[in-house]
C-alpha cells in the first residue's frame, strides 16, 4: 500500500490491515499528519493539532497489537473531534476565543469510548462558534474551507469535521447536530454524516447548544465507517440522563446491500419551495436507484413541514441563549457578531412561546410518526443547494420568491432541522455532483432507534455507486 494513499483508506479497510499487522498505526498516523501538513494551510480544519500525542498513542497501539492485544476495528484509527467535545488535558474552545484556554479535566463520554476502542485523536476540529450557525464561519480561528472548492463553505457547524474527513486528514470525525450540523457539512463536503436518534449517543461532556435538540454523530467517508463508529460510541451512559437504556445492536450487521422489502416515502413538500434544480434531480435519481434495487418508493405528504422553522427556531434560540447567557452578557463583544446577534434575539422569546413551540413539536412528531408507520424511511435532499461562497448571506436559487435570494441560515437548515425536531435517525450520503463540481447528498431518515435500517439503505446505495470514492482536487 503506497504511503500516500493510506490517508484515504476507510477505517473498515485499515482495520483489516492493522489487525493482520500488514501496516502499523504509526504508518497510518504519519500518513494523516503528512496530509494535514499539506492541506491544512488551505482548509483550516483544526483548532488544535496533537501530532506528538498522536504519535505516542500510535506507538502504544502498535505495541499492544504486536502483543496480541487487538482491541477491535478502531484500534489505531485516526480520529478528530469537533472542538466542543471535552478532552482531558487538551483545550476545548467551542470555537470561540472566549474559551481559548479552557482545558477540561475529564474526557467526554464519546472521547472516552474512542480511547477505550483504541482510536487515536489527531486533534480538535474547527467549528462555527458555539455551534450556532450552519456555514462554518469562524473569525477567531479562521473560516473553514471546502476541499472541493476552498472559496466555498464547508457547512456547519461541524465544518472542520467535514473538511478533515473529506480531504483525508482524519479517518473518522465527530460532529454535533442541533439543526443539521453533522449532515450539512457532510452533504456539502461529499461525505457520510449520521445523526443518530436523540439519546443514542451520550451528550455528556459536550458544550450544549440546545439540550433537547443536540445530537452527537459520526462523520466518515463511508457508511460502513459510520457503523463502526456507532458500535464504539453508542449506548446508555449514566452521565447523560437522556441516553436510551438497553443494548445497542451491531450496526455492521445492517450492511447487507439489500433494500428489497423496504418502503421509502418521498416527502412531497421537500421538493416544493426553494430547491436547486440540479440538486433536486440528483436526489430524485438516488431515490429512483433505490427503487431499481428493490425498495418500494411511494410519495408521502408532511403538511407540518411548514412549521418546522418556527418550532425549531423558538426552541433552539431560547435554549442556546439560556445555555450561553452568561458569556453573552459578560463577553458579548468578543463573540462572532452573527452568533452574538442570534443569542441576543433569544433573550426576547417568552416562556409561553417556548412551551407553545414544544407543544407544536409534539404535533410535528405525531405526524412524522404516522408516516413512519406506513414507510420504513423518509427520503429527500439534505441541502437545497451545493456549497455557497464563504460569507454569502443570501443565496440565489430556483424557486426564490422575491429574486433577492434566500437567507442562508434558514435555507441550509431547511430539511435537516425536521429530524432534530423529531429526534429521528437521519443520514447524509453522497449522491453525485452538480455542474459546479460540488457534491450533493441524499437524506434518509428512519424510525427512532432504527439506525440499522437507515444504514442499510445508505450502504446499499453507496455500494451501487462510486461517489464515496471520488476525491477532492486539493
Amino acid at each position: 500500500m503506497p504511503a500516500n494513499e493510506l490517508h484515504y483508506l476507510s477505517a473498515w479497510e485499515l482495520s483489516g490491515l492493522i489487525r493482520s499487522r500488514e501496516i502499523s498505526p504509526v504508518d497510518v498516523v504519519e500518513a494523516c499528519l503528512a496530509r494535514i501538513e499539506a492541506t491544512e494551510p488551505t482548509l483550516n480544519s483544526f483548532i488544535t493539532l496533537l501530532p506528538e500525542q498522536a504519535r505516542a498513542a500510535a506507538q502504544r497501539a502498535e505495541a499492544e497489537i504486536g502483543r496480541g492485544s487487538y482491541r477491535g476495528p478502531l484500534h489505531g484509527i485516526p480520529v478528530g473531534l469537533k472542538d466542543l467535545f471535552n478532552t482531558a488535558g487538551v483545550r476545548t474552545t467551542s470555537g470561540t476565543r472566549i474559551y481559548d484556554t479552557h482545558v477540561p479535566d475529564e474526557d467526554c463520554t464519546v472521547a472516552a469510548r474512542f480511547n477505550a476502542a483504541g482510536a487515536i485523536l489527531l486533534g480538535k476540529l474547527n467549528m462555527h462558534p458555539l455551534a450556532f450557525g450552519p456555514t462554518g464561519e469562524n473569525a477567531d480561528y479562521g473560516h473553514m474551507h471546502n476541499p472541493w472548492n476552498p472559496e466555498r463553505i464547508t457547512g456547519g457547524s461541524s465544518g472542520g469535521s467535514g473538511s478533515a474527513t473529506a480531504a483525508g486528514q482524519c479517518t473518522i470525525t465527530m460532529g454535533s447536530d442541533t439543526g443539521g450540523s453533522v449532515r450539512i457539512p457532510a452533504a456539502l463536503c461529499g461525505i457520510v454524516g449520521l445523526k443518530p436518534t436523540y439519546g443514542r449517543i451520550s451528550r455528556a461532556g459536550l458544550t450544549p447548544l440546545s439540550w433537547c435538540l443536540d445530537h452527537p454523530g459520526p462523520m466518515t467517508r463511508t457508511v460502513e465507517d459510520a457503523a463502526l463508529a456507532m458500535n464504539a460510541i453508542a449506548g446508555p451512559d449514566p452521565k447523560d440522563h437522556v441516553t436510551a437504556p438497553g443494548p445497542v445492536p451491531d450496526y455492521t450487521q445492517a450492511l447487507t446491500e439489500d433494500v428489497r422489502g423496504l418502503r421509502i416515502g418521498v416527502v412531497r413538500e421537500f421538493f416544493d419551495g426553494p430547491l436547486d434544480g440540479e440538486v433536486a434531480s440528483l436526489a430524485q435519481q438516488a431515490i429512483s436507484a433505490l427503487g431499481e434495487m428493490g425498495a418500494e418508493i411511494v410519495e408521502v405528504s408532511l403538511p407540518m413541514f411548514q412549521y418546522a422553522q418556527p418550532i425549531s427556531n423558538v426552541i433552539l434560540s431560547a435554549e442556546a441563549t439560556a445555555a450561553h447567557r452568561d458569556i453573552l452578557l459578560s463577553d458579548g463583544d468578543q463573540l462572532y457578531p452573527q452568533v452574538r446577534d442570534r443569542l441576543e434575539e433569544g433573550l426576547f422569546i417568552t416562556a409561553s412561546e417556548y412551551l407553545r413551540a414544544q407543544q407544536g413539536r409534539q404535533v410535528f412528531c405525531q405526524q412524522v410518526g404516522r408516516l413512519l408507520q406506513d414507510v420504513d424511511l423518509l427520503a429527500g435532499p439534505v441541502e437545497p443547494v451545493t456549497a455557497p461562497e464563504i460569507l454569502a448571506r443570501r443565496i440565489e436559487i430556483d424557486g426564490s420568491l422575491d429574486g433577492a435570494g434566500e437567507p442562508a441560515v434558514p435555507l441550509l437548515t431547511r430539511y435537516t432541522r425536521v429530524y432534530n425536531i423529531t429526534g429521528s435517525p437521519a443520514i447524509s450520503v453522497p449522491c453525485g455532483f452538480a455542474s459546479d463540481g460540488l457534491p450533493a447528498a441524499l437524506h434518509l431518515a428512519g424510525r427512532n432507534f432504527d439506525e440499522a435500517t437507515v444504514l442499510r439503505a445508505a450502504y446499499a446505495y453507496q455500494q451501487a455507486h462510486d461517489w464515496h470514492r471520488q476525491r477532492p482536487p486539493i
Binding site: 411548514q306 422553522q309 434575539e345 433573550l347 412561546e353 413551540a357 407543544q359 407544536g360 409534539q362
Partner: protein
Amino acid sequence: MSSIDAGAELSLDVFLHLAADAGLDVSDTARMDDLRRRVNMMRGGFAALHEIDVSKAESPAAFVPDAG
C-alpha cells in the same frame, strides 16, 4: 408597560424594558435599534405556531419526580 402578546411586535418601550431587564446595554441606541428590528422580525415568524392545533399536546417539560 403593556403585555407581550405571543409573536407580536414589541413596542420600543417594551423592548427597551426587556433588554435592560435581560442585562443588555441599552445606551447603545444604534445597536438597540438593529436588535429591535431583528427581534420583531424573528417574533413575526412565531405567529405561525398559533396555527397548529396543540389542544391535545402537552409540553414535554412536565415534571417527573425522582423515584429514588
